[in-house]
Amino acid sequence: MILELDDVRVTLGGSQILQGVSFTVARAGVTALLGRNGVGKTTTVKAVLGLVPRTGAIRFDGEGLHRLRTHEIVRRGIGYAPEDRGVFAKLTVTENLALAERRGAGHAYDLVYELFPELKTRGAQAAGTLSGGQQQMVAIARTLLNDNRLIVVDEPTKGLAPKVVTEVAEVLERAAERVPMLLVEQNLALVRRLAGDGVVLAAGQVVHRGPVRDLLADTELTQKLLGVGKAA
């Protein structure tokens, strides 16, 4: 397992958001983190990255992350594309990518520009003037630039047009061939296409773990856990 969470708890503003979350992420393929709105998916991801105070154990490739600061966790080899994309609006596309460059090994600009040729042509453009889809491309590109051992992508298709969702899905599929991925996503068609394992959260706890295909094939279970009658 590349990532293990054991009894992770997060309390924010007096509310207990995560109430003992435990699951693992496989060393290959995509693990989907699912659940209705507000169940703690984004908080779980932030807990992994040390962006929120948390208790419990989080191990990345066997190493405990608890005492590490966010930048140290990321430097262990985790790429992160957050829910709001985390693109620096006033910086150019090139600067957004340059900021993600980490010391050490080379940076995979060839791969990034092969996957996102538009980012090369729009290099001098302020990232804030890009479309939502293009900003998502910048966010994903930053995770692929370094030699990461896990990438964490939070709701990459949120608010995107269907055509752009297809483009993002293709890119994520190619990325997943290279590096394991923890994917938070509400679009079940995308989850079905990409993910092998699924973890479902409800009210800050894991309520289901198992192959995504089995979960989505069970309409009753999908309705109960995710609030949708039929997987798209």
Binding site: L49, L51, R69, T70, H71, V74, R75, Y80, P82, G86, F88, A89, K90, L91, E95, A98, L99, A100, R102, R142, N146
Partner: protein
């Protein structure tokens, strides 16, 4: 005509002084959300360093030491006192306010409350004839220093890795760390740059006013904050323009209206700018920070 030119260059000289103070404040607040009330004490420290050394060292070297004193003090304050308090903004404000009071008091305890004359070299204390007006040379020195600092800051922000981190950190500090960047180093560097500019402002302020006094820095800090709010947080160009405008308004109002009304005019301009141009975001951030 000669009066207008004299007033304009004196105003710009004062504006240059404000810029040296405000640019550091703006960078520090923009990146770190720290309202550094100790910034004025760093100006005083620079002023006294320059005062102590002029006569013993060439003036340029005395100014260089003032800059180094400001930078070293600022870096020490950031690493020892501010860093443990990043998650406690109110305590952070108390610490910087305390330092802002204690350091000038310490200076006063050692060298007394009276203003001390800064003996600048003759080349800098004379006047230069320009279009019929005799302009004190120190105005040109201040304006030149501010222009060099402005160009240097712009180069630093646009061309260096730390500059990139600072510009990104002003937008979203947490995301910068989530890209694997240790923002704390940028914090210390920005604090040290702010301190260096405060030290420079102290030394050149001594040249401008002809003397140094324990509370000189604190008095200038008020206008530094006004300039930051008008110019925009983390916006070097805006801060430079605002500093020039504040210096000019102060000088012209003091001369054409009544002496002392210049300060009031600056406050009025601040209110008008906040209401009209909608720099409310920055203002609200300041208010939230102090509330």
């Amino acid at each position: 005509m000669s009066t207008l030119i004299l007033l304009a260059l004196t105003g710009l000289g004062l504006g240059a002084l404000y810029f040296l103070i405000a640019s550091g404040l703006s960078l520090i607040f923009g990146l770190m959300d720290v309202l550094n009330f100790a910034h004025g004490a760093l100006v005083t420290a620079g002023a006294y360093a320059a005062w102590r050394l002029t006569g013993h060292l060439p003036f340029v070297l005395a100014v260089a030491v003032a800059v180094a004193v400001g930078a070293a003090l600022a870096a020490a304050i950031e690493t020892v006192l501010i860093r443990p308090l990043y998650s406690r903004p109110k305590d952070q404000i108390l610490v910087t306010v305390g330092l802002g009071l204690a350091l000038p008091a310490l200076v006063q305890g050692i060298w007394g409350a009276d203003a001390r004359q800064l003996k600048a070299p003759r080349q800098l204390t004379g006047t230069v004839g320009l279009l019929g007006a005799n302009i004190p040379t120190d105005r040109f020195v201040l304006i030149a220093a501010a222009l060099v600092v402005l160009a240097g800051l712009k180069l630093f922000l646009a061309r260096t890795r730390y500059g990139l981190v600072v510009r990104a950190g002003v937008e979203d500090r947490a995301m910068v760390t989530a890209l694997g960047v240790d923002v704390r180093r940028a914090f210390t560097l920005v604090f040290a740059i702010g301190g260096a500019l405060a030290g420079l402002a102290g030394a050149l302020g001594g040249l401008y006013f002809g003397s140094v006094s324990p509370n000189q820095g604190t008095s200038l800090l008020v206008f530094g904050f006004v300039v930051v709010v008008i110019g925009g947080l983390g916006r070097t160009d805006g801060v430079a323009l605002a500093a020039a405008a504040v210096g000019l308004i102060q000088q012209f109002t003091n001369y054409y209206a009544a002496s002392g009304l210049g300060d009031l005019a600056v406050v009025a301009i601040l209110a008008v700018v906040l209401l009209a141009r909608g720099n409310r975001e920055g203002f609200e951030r300041l208010v939230r920070r102090t509330a």
